[in-house]
């Protein structure tokens, strides 16, 4: 392993809140990777028949699981909106420092709002955890 500093050499940067939007996109991405695993576990449980589903449903409706769903709702909302910001950047738009700072706040606000909307629908929409 080389002794020179390796990229990304995080400790040399001055803190900026736009850094939070960047690292949060990675964190939420990792959380959603776990979400894919959870989705496939659920699909496999349904494929296993009524008994296998009932066993999985007990696990999937535990308080810890519900806390995970709340986290996943935020991870999904944030990663979706931050991802759209990235796609807009890829067209060459919005890359100026001021624009990026403004869109960072917008991503934060919109993802919190979307999380609340999804949470509201999940809680009051008639759907209950399995």
């Amino acid at each position: 392993m080389p002794t020179r500093p390796l990229s990304p050499y995080l400790s040399v940067y001055k803190f900026r809140y736009t850094m939070v939007t960047s690292i949060l996109n990675r964190f939420t991405g990792v959380a959603l990777s776990a979400g894919v695993l959870l989705l496939v576990y659920w699909l496999t449980a349904v494929a296993g028949g009524a008994h296998a589903h009932a066993r999985a449903a007990r696990l999937l409706s535990s308080p810890v699981a519900k806390l995970c769903y709340a986290g996943l709702m935020f991870a999904f909302s944030y990663h979706l909106i931050a991802g759209i910001r990235h796609l807009i950047w890829d067209t060459g738009r919005g890359l100026e420092r001021e624009q990026a700072r403004r869109s960072a706040w917008l991503v934060g606000a919109l993802s919190v709002a979307l999380t609340l909307v999804i949470g509201y629908c999940a809680w009051y929409g008639g759907t209950r955890a399995p």
Partner: protein
């Protein structure tokens, strides 16, 4: 004229010529996941309950089965590409990095295959 040094050529250092492809596939999968994930969330929230019979009837519909398979495959693909970049950024030991990347790739292929198999099993079971 090549600007690469003979030493660099021999050591095989420099770009692996794969970066743009990785970047592009990550974008393609992200664009596909916008409608797929929104469809999944809206469908899930629209189900009257998440009981076994309700969910399996929903999974057995042709359109749901097809979109679920796409969601699992594209989601797993996007996840693999994303985790790969994180490992390449932060895991610096060559041996550990290679092992981690291989494990991540295998795990994602397994997850993708298991998801497709599960959806097909439900969809084809009720088609009989």
């Amino acid at each position: 004229m090549s600007l690469r040094s003979p030493l660099g050529k021999v050591l095989g250092t420099g770009s692996a010529q794969q970066g743009v492809h990785h970047w592009w596939v990550q974008r393609l999968t992200s664009v596909a996941l916008v409608p797929l994930s929104i469809w999944f969330l809206v469908s899930l929230l629209s189900l009257p309950s998440l009981d076994y019979w309700v969910v399996s009837a929903w999974m057995a519909q042709g359109s749901s089965a097809l979109l679920l398979i796409l969601l699992v495959l594209v989601g797993a693909w996007h996840s693999q590409l994303g985790l790969q970049v994180i490992v390449e950024d932060y895991v610096h030991g060559v041996g550990v990095r290679t092992l981690t990347l291989v494990a991540i790739t295998f795990a994602h292929v397994l997850i993708g295959a298991a998801g497709v198999f599960a959806v097909l099993k439900v969809a084809l079971r009720s088609a009989q």
